[in-house]
Amino acid sequence: MDLSTLDDASLIRLIAHQRSEALGVLYDRYGRLVYSVALNVIGNAETTEEIVQDVFTRVWEKASTYDADQAKLSTWLISITRNRAIDELRRNRVRPEQFNVAWEEAIEIKDPRDPGPEAATETLFKQKSVREAIAALPADPRQALALAYFKGLSQSEIAEVLGEPLGTVKTRIRLAMQKLRQVLSTQMIDQS
């Protein structure tokens, strides 16, 4: 059976049954996404590889606890990757001035690997939607949001890194999140 045609929920069930080939298909489907999120947090390829292995180890060991009603698999993977990577960043006490953050500038998705039934629709749709929504934000809120999301900085730390008043940073982050909520909610309603 060609497992690459299975949806995410079926793959996770196979992984819960310790089917290693299902883990391989999941990696083909989401490995680049996980690697990209981790690398944008950590900024170091070697540590990023360790984090990716940790994330897929967790999937392998905890697949039976995954609840599709709570979160899509892609967002679950992103969430545990980001949390794990930020923990590592804080443990290593990387100096904020070394931070180099950016959002994806390309809106269109090129050369998707192993599209699979969900990646071909939902994941690609989300990537395009989020990129469009972020690209529509002014540059300053986009930068503040990137420091909060990728580096796990508090608003006070962001104000310090950017040399901006704390109130300004708070306003930028609040307005950015409100705008993203408005745009992404509308897109999800349109999609459904």
């Binding site: 299975l6 049954h17 990696y27 083909d28 590889e49 292995q53 994806e104 608003q155 982050i173 999140m177």
Partner: protein, 238 residues
């Protein structure tokens, strides 16, 4: 609760995890007693959950997949385990939109008409085509009398599908194992688990034609299966 006490302005940063410790404590304390702010927070958490899709995409090194696959080691089982049957709630949920509902009605109508046609054709086929699918009914033993199942075997005998219902779900240390029986010998047909309602279906492969075996049995074995039956038999058929 008066409006000034709400923490609505702080929720976007809270969802991102970018509040200071004192602010975080204040928000957590308020959320504990305010359903309005909890509902608002969910909408911002939805945004945060999706931000990773905006990360610049970088191709991982090819060697990384091999390292990830070392987590799993070799495959534990050689057969196709369960693909869970969707529950009724999930099915109805998927049919909730009007277009899907209309589509479902159309599909049901087509299935019904095809069934009638199939039944009409079937009478002819039993005469003109002797090589049809075979099925072997499996009955529950005294260990699990409510359980039942069927093994459907392709006309060539090369492929089979096992379907079981009402088998008791097992703990995480055990799985069911199918045995292909012939001349007193038991050959492993695969291991499987069942859903909470006791259902599973599984493709069965065998080195020999499945219709050459004299019977099939299912026992409870340690997770991953055994080389020979060691546990209680719960289903069987010939």
């Amino acid at each position: 609760m008066i409006a000034q006490e709400h923490v609505l302005d702080q929720l976007p940063a809270y969802a991102l995890g970018s509040l200071d410790e004192a602010e975080t404590r204040q928000v957590v304390q308020h959320l504990d007693s305010c359903p309005i702010c909890r509902a608002e927070l969910l909408t911002y958490q939805m945004v945060t959950d999706q931000l990773g899709f905006g990360a610049p995409q970088i191709e991982p090194p090819p060697s990384l997949k091999q390292k990830v696959m070392q987590i799993a080691g070799p495959a534990r089982v050689a057969v196709q385990p369960e693909i869970r049957k969707p529950g009724l709630v999930e099915v109805f949920r998927s049919l909730l939109t009007p277009w899907r509902l209309a589509g479902a009605v159309l599909v049901i109508a087509l299935i019904a008409s095809n069934l009638i046609l199939w039944q009409q054709v079937q009478g002819l086929r039993t005469v003109s085509n002797p090589t049809a699918f075979q099925s072997v009914a499996l009955a529950g033993t005294s260990a699990d009398p409510q359980a039942h199942g069927v093994m459907i075997i392709s006309s060539s005998g090369q492929y089979g599908t096992l379907v079981v219902e009402n088998l008791s779900p097992l703990d995480t240390n055990h799985q069911y194992q199918l045995w292909l029986m012939q001349d007193g010998k038991r050959t492993n047909g695969g291991v499987f688990s069942v859903s909470d309602d006791g259902y599973t279906s599984m493709l069965v492969y065998s080195p020999k034609a499945l219709n050459s075996y004299s019977g099939f049995g299912i026992t409870i074995e340690p997770f991953g299966g055994s080389s020979q039956p060691t546990g209680e038999k719960v289903l069987g058929g010939q």
